[in-house]
Structure formats: structure tokens, C-alpha cells
């Protein structure tokens, strides 16, 4: 029994059918963690990208270091750090939230790079032209630079959303009961690992294919007319 569903081990097929609703419960947790982690990564990454662009080395250099550090260290260790170290300083977060923060921290390194590359890909001449036309800087950024950068940024962010989804199972080590953990628990109790784990693999395949299809659709819908994308 898990989440109020019992499994039926009379045959492989019956077993697979009976555990599907349980796995789907886990999938909901996986999706929640994905969305929350992605949100944190998107916001934190933006902050890093801005700090990095500050023309003051006292600010930009430490930011570069932090981003590099976040990128080059494993998610698992970052997660353990947050999970075991933060409480020592009085910050007690639920496991799910800790996991989402860890995902956000890890991927903020990647998203900050996405913002930076997206903005830098906009031709320098665009900014110069705006200055020549005497447009105010804020107007230049919002009306000229940003619309050209967004079509580059969105698809790249979408791909990291998918990566985050694939990293959610790591959260199982701090007791988050996401899809893989559910399969593991079922396996531990029934000694049948093959079916639940294969099903998780298949469900993942469906989720990522669906997600990349959505990202591609979104990508095609973005107004890119006349914007020279590489």
C-alpha cells in the first residue's frame, strides 16, 4: 500500500496496472519540483546575469566566481549541503523546498549564462544605432534589445526546464517522494524492481518528449520575424 493504493502481484500485467496510479502520484511531485526549481533558477539566474554585468569588479568578479562554483559542483552535494548545513544555522526547510532550492541553485548557473548569451547575441550596432537616435537607455533596453534577445532566451530556458525534470530524482536522497522514489519503495516492498523502474523510464520518456514538443511549439510561436537568429 502506498498513497492508499494497493498493488496486485498476481501477474506482471496486473502489477504494472496497479502501480501506475501510485507512480502518477509521484509524477505530480516530480512536476511540482520541476516547476518550482525552474522558477528559482530563472529568477536567480537573472539576478546573477545582472550582477555580472555591473561595471564594478567588486560586484562582477565574485558573481562570476559564484556562478562558476555553482556550475562545477554536483547537484547532490549542493543538496546535501543545504539539507544538513542550513538547519545548523537555524534554517529548517521542508525536504521538498530544500530540493527545489538546490535545483534552482544548480541551474541558476546555466540560466544566467542563457540571459548573458541572449543579450550579447544582439548585434552591438543595435545599441549604437539607438544611441545615435538619442533614445533613452531604458527605452533602448526594453524596446530594442529585449525583443531581439527573448527569442534566443526562451528556447534555451525551455531546454533547461527539461534538464531540471531529469534531475528531480536526485531529490529522493533527502526523502522527497518523487516518481523514482515511489518506484524504489514499491521495489523494496515487493522485490520487483524491473517493472516499476522500467515504467518510470517510460514515463520519463513521455514527459521529456512532450516537454520538448511544447518547447518547440512555443519557440515557433515566438515573434521572430526579421530577427537574425543564428
Amino acid at each position: 500500500m502506498l498513497f492508499g493504493y494497493a498493488w496486485d502481484t498476481s501477474s506482471n500485467w496486473a502489477f504494472a496496472v496497479s502501480i501506475l496510479p501510485i507512480l502518477l502520484q509521484g509524477m505530480i511531485v516530480t512536476l511540482e519540483a520541476t516547476v518550482l526549481g525552474f522558477f528559482i533558477a530563472a529568477v536567480l539566474g537573472l539576478i546573477f546575469a545582472v550582477l555580472r554585468a555591473v561595471p564594478l569588479r567588486l560586484v562582477s568578479w565574485p558573481t562570476i566566481f559564484i556562478v562558476e562554483f555553482f556550475r562545477d559542483t554536483p547537484l547532490l552535494i549542493q543538496l546535501f549541503f543545504l539539507y544538513f548545513v542550513l538547519p545548523e544555522y537555524g534554517l529548517l526547510l521542508p525536504a521538498f523546498l530544500t530540493g527545489a532550492v538546490a535545483l534552482g541553485v544548480q541551474y541558476s548557473a546555466y540560466t544566467s549564462e542563457v540571459y548573458r548569451a541572449g543579450l550579447e547575441a544582439v548585434d552591438r550596432g543595435q545599441g549604437e544605432a539607438s544611441r545615435a537616435l538619442n533614445l533613452p537607455p531604458a527605452h533602448t533596453f526594453i524596446k530594442i534589445i529585449l525583443p531581439q534577445a527573448i527569442p534566443r532566451i526562451i528556447p534555451a530556458l525551455g531546454n533547461y526546464l527539461i534538464s531540471i525534470m531529469k534531475d528531480v530524482p536526485v531529490l529522493s536522497v533527502v526523502t522527497v517522494v518523487e516518481m523514482l522514489n515511489v518506484a524504489k519503495i514499491i521495489g523494496d516492498r515487493t522485490f520487483q524492481y524491473m517493472i516499476p523502474l522500467t515504467m518510470v523510464g517510460a514515463l520519463y520518456l513521455i514527459m521529456t518528449l512532450l516537454a520538448s514538443y511544447l518547447v518547440r511549439t512555443l519557440d515557433n510561436r515566438l515573434p521572430t520575424q526579421g530577427i537574425p537568429l543564428k
Binding site: F69, R71, D72, T73, P74, L75, L76, I77, Q78, F80, F81, F84, V85, E88, M165, K166, D167, V168, P169, V170, S172, V173, L180, A183, K184, G187, Q192, Y193, M194, L197, T198, V200, G201, Y204, L205, T208, L209
Partner: protein, 216 residues
């Protein structure tokens, strides 16, 4: 703090070993399936596409658990080390295969035409003309994948391999000194990543020599 170092160093050594072997095997998978995907042989092509889609479309940890927990029930037994290397290299190889394919596709068509005009066979054109030109294109993304692979090795601690992450966890259990241990371990991973990045940069400079020579 110094008391932890010997144990952690031993773990770091396992981590490096894992990274080394899985990168090597992963590179093999990258080329085999990356080239296989562009092959005219329909069987090889479909096997390559399936491999790439499955391993890129699912989670590494799922793959690792599947190899470690599910395969033995089918009678396939292997040591945690073998299982870890297998999972890591198959996973990174699928991403690498896409890198190989993309780099080969980026070789411009006129190079193939020149090869054809000189009567190279398609295979010779691939091996002697396209691949050497694609190689420098592959190195930067390969560098990123190697770092990714280094980080991924931490997951083998979950299938009982005593790598750096595993040592950290056992030390924490023993001493409850999480702050010191995990800070230390984070910096050790960081150091290893910087080391690998430096090696890749050196390699890039050597392999791409013919490209940067703009002087006339």
C-alpha cells in the same frame, strides 16, 4: 578539518577513476552512435536513434537504478563500479553522440564535393576530410560534458560506491560536522572541475592549430 582529508582524498580518487573510465567509454559511445545515426545502414541507424532518444529522454538516476537494481533480477550481475561506469558512460555517450552528429553536419557541403571530385569513397571522405574538421568543433561541448560527467559521478554513491560523495556522507554520519565536510567536498569537486577544464583548453589549442593561423 585535516582529519577528514585522507578519507575524502581516497573518495576523490575513486571519483576521478570513475570520471576517467566513463568519459573514455562515453566518448566511444558518442562516436559509435553519433556516426551510426548518420549511417545508411538502417539497422545501425535505428538502433542509434533509439539509444540516443532513450538515454537523453530519461533521468540518469533512473538509468543507474535500472542497471543496478533491475538488471540483476534478470540474471545480469555486475559490481557497483561496473554498473556505475556503464550507466555514466551510456548516459553521457547519448549526449556526446548528438555533439558528434552536429559537428559532422557543420562541415560544409563543398568539402564533401571536393572529396568526391578527388574520388574519395564516402567512407574516406568521412574519416579523412569531415571528421578531422569536425573534431575541433566537438571539443568545447565535449569539455562541458566531461564536467557534467564529473558531477554525475556523485550519484554512484547512491549505489554503494565509495566515491567522494559517499565518503562525505559516511563522515557526516560519524561526526555530524556537516558544514566543514560539505564545504570541503564542494571545493574538492570545484578543484577537479577546474583541472579538467584546463586540460580540455590545452587540448583545444592543440587540435585546432590549423584554424587559428590567420597570418598571411
Amino acid at each position: 578539518m585535516w582529519d577528514y582529508l585522507p578519507a575524502l582524498m581516497q573518495g576523490a580518487w575513486i571519483t576521478l577513476e570513475l570520471t576517467f573510465w566513463s568519459t573514455l567509454a562515453g566518448a566511444f559511445c558518442s562516436f559509435f552512435f553519433g556516426l551510426g545515426r548518420g549511417s545508411r545502414n538502417l539497422l545501425l541507424k535505428s538502433v542509434s536513434v533509439a539509444y540516443i532518444e532513450v538515454f537523453r529522454g530519461t533521468s540518469l538516476l533512473v538509468q543507474m537504478f535500472w542497471i543496478f537494481f533491475a538488471l540483476p533480477l534478470m540474471g545480469v550481475r555486475m559490481s557497483p563500479m561496473t554498473a556505475g561506469i556503464l550507466a555514466l558512460s551510456l548516459n553521457i555517450g547519448a549526449y556526446g553522440a548528438e555533439v558528434v552528429r552536429g559537428a559532422i553536419q557543420s562541415v560544409i557541403r563543398s568539402q564533401y564535393e571536393a572529396a568526391k571530385a578527388l574520388n574519395f569513397t564516402p567512407r574516406q571522405a568521412l574519416w579523412f576530410i569531415a571528421l578531422p574538421q569536425a573534431l575541433p568543433e566537438m571539443l568545447p561541448p565535449f569539455g562541458n560534458l566531461i564536467i557534467q560527467n564529473l558531477k554525475d559521478t556523485a550519484l554512484v554513491s547512491l549505489i554503494t560506491l565509495s566515491d567522494l560523495a559517499f565518503r562525505a556522507e559516511s563522515l557526516r554520519n560519524l561526526t555530524q560536522d556537516s558544514t566543514t565536510i560539505y564545504t570541503l567536498v564542494l571545493f574538492m569537486y570545484f578543484g577537479m572541475a577546474l583541472m579538467l577544464t584546463a586540460i580540455m583548453k590545452l587540448l583545444e589549442r592543440r587540435v585546432g592549430r590549423w584554424r587559428g593561423t590567420g597570418a598571411r
